[in-house]
């Protein structure tokens, strides 16, 4: 992770402009290009079950972090509880990292994986 911004202020277009201008100027390095390719695409945020966090708490956290309605948050919580994990959000890498950080701050076991 390179840089973190407040959620909602992620502007992928800025990143695109920067990369494009670097390509035009011939200053983009092979390493930067590889890193950019690896981080691009869709990333999944996963939450894992644990024997400590209370079900009602997990539901509240999903509502707070993702802004999900109560019903969806409860469904996701039950998936975590029954299946052992749930995919709770998918999207670009940077907001996905911010979501995982927030979930960790609520002491939930969460991680990122690149979508297939």
């Amino acid at each position: 992770m390179r840089k973190r911004r407040a959620l909602g202020s992620v502007h992928l277009s800025e990143l695109s402009v920067t990369i494009t201008s670097k390509i035009r100027a011939g200053t983009i390095t092979e390493k930067e290009e590889k890193a950019s390719t690896e981080l691009a695409g869709t990333w999944n945020v996963l939450v894992f079950d644990d024997p400590v966090n209370l079900m009602e708490y997990v539901t509240k956290v999903f509502q707070k972090v993702f802004g999900y309605p109560r019903e969806r948050a409860e469904d996701l919580m039950m998936t975590v509880h029954i299946a052992g994990k749930a995919l709770v959000w998918s999207g670009a890498r940077e907001p996905a990292e911010l979501y995982v950080q927030q979930l960790h701050s609520y002491q939930l076991h969460a991680s990122l994986e690149k979508a297939q």
Binding site: M1, V52, L54, Y57
Partner: protein, 157 residues
């Protein structure tokens, strides 16, 4: 110990014995005894190395979790100082501090679970066979869980 909701969406805790104080003091102690790895490190175990999670996020989370424990310790310490009877006393968990209390109790339960491996749905008759330190830890964990439930129901949004 009595736990009552207040009209301001907080909790009033009435301490009735010296043991109550000991158990409350144990919240922060338990939270800090989760083993060699800190909670943020354990949470970050699933993150890939390229994310630089350990360098950037873990230190921030450590500060954040330490802050939760500080709130709990300071509140208990202040209440003990104000109490005229060393075995009794009371304090309030203000609505604004509800999340910190919940987080501190969660840290304590996560640490106890990591250390003793109670597992989900531990039966009471199994607890009888636990060695004394584990039995005591299990009872504290149940008390912390009960406090969390009250916080969830009456204090947290």
């Amino acid at each position: 110990m009595k736990v009552m909701p207040t009209l301001e969406k907080g909790l009033r805790i009435e301490v009735e014995t010296a043991t109550d104080w000991l158990v409350l003091e144990q919240i922060a102690t338990d939270a800090l005894e989760g083993g060699i790895e800190t909670l943020p490190t354990r949470l970050s175990a699933l993150m890939d190395e390229e994310s630089e999670w350990d360098e950037i996020v873990v230190p921030e989370l450590e500060d954040f979790f330490t802050g939760q424990l500080r709130v709990v310790r300071d509140t208990i310490h202040a209440a003990q100082q104000e109490s005229t009877d060393p075995a009794e006393g009371m304090f309030l968990i203000m609505r604004a501090e509800g999340a910190q209390w919940y987080g501190a109790l969660n840290q304590a339960r996560l640490a106890l679970e990591t250390h003793y491996r109670f597992g989900p749905g531990e039966e009471v008759n199994e607890v009888e066979s636990f060695p004394p330190p584990k039995r005591s830890a299990f009872i504290r964990s149940q008390l912390y869980c009960a406090l969390q439930s009250v916080l969830l129901e009456h204090v947290l949004d």
